[in-house]
């Protein structure tokens, strides 16, 4: 498996937000400012990679040997929620500066379905551990890219002369659709 092509595929072509429509809530909710989007993107990268490692190991060493594959969804949700809580606690105690930068976003990530999508895709595609890590990195970087670019556009839109009925979420959804169209043009690149 070519790791670079896997990475580029998950970032650009098979993008988690624009192709699979996961993580729409943070896309609309946390992209009014570039700073918020940047923080959210970084936090998602960290959580997706960490939870992908843990859930892959859980599936490989516990669920599969005990023939409990059907528990994948429930156990992964619990693991992701616990991991996010643990990270928040760890940052509060040991790295307060990082907590101040990412603090508000961590509880939001628990309900971000892009994280669960990443962990479950690793299993459904039968990836090895290294492929899982590359896939997780690609998904989270793709999320970060879209969220940040979308935030820069939205900041400009706030100053633009948008018709009253389109202000806020309507124009945001139109922009999302246009971005999805733009990204679909990258199909066949890898």
């Amino acid at each position: 498996m070519n790791y670079l092509s896997l990475f580029l595929n998950t970032v650009l072509i098979d993008n988690v937000i624009l192709v699979h429509f996961f993580g729409f809530c943070p896309l609309l909710g946390v992209t009014t400012k570039k700073k918020s989007a940047f923080g959210m993107g970084l936090a998602v990268i960290f959580v997706v990679i960490g939870s992908s490692a843990i859930t892959w190991s859980l599936y490989r060493f516990i669920l599969k040997p005990l023939k409990l594959e059907y528990l994948e969804l429930v156990t992964f949700i619990l693991v992701i929620a616990s991991f996010v809580q643990f990270i928040e606690m760890f940052l509060k105690k040991f790295i307060p500066s990082l907590y101040k930068a990412l603090g508000i976003f961590l509880p939001l990530i628990t309900t971000n379905c892009a994280v669960l999508y990443a962990t479950m895709q690793n299993i459904s595609k039968g990836y090895r551990f290294t492929e899982t890590m590359v896939n997780a990195l690609g998904i989270s970087v793709g999320f970060f890219l879209v969220v940040y670019v979308f935030a820069t556009i939205r900041e400009k839109l706030q100053k633009a002369d948008t018709p009253r009925s389109f202000k806020g979420n309507p124009i945001a959804l139109i922009v999302t659709a246009l971005m999805a169209l733009a990204f679909s043009g990258l199909a066949g690149l890898v």
């Binding site: 700073k35 409990l68 307060p96 990412l102 603090g103």
Partner: protein
Amino acid sequence: MNFVQILTALALVGGLAVLNGWIYVKNKKTPLPEGCEPFRESCSNCPAEEDCVLKKVERSVKQ
């Protein structure tokens, strides 16, 4: 599916749920860093300050 498998499944899910609850309680008890008050109550030095202030402004304009 046999009885042992069902028990194992319940133990695994129960164990993870207990772990989640325990970490949640520990997290709630962990004090916030200095200069970082709860986001909902006030807009302090935390990173969400701008969004918090923006939302307060939006709310006051609507009223």
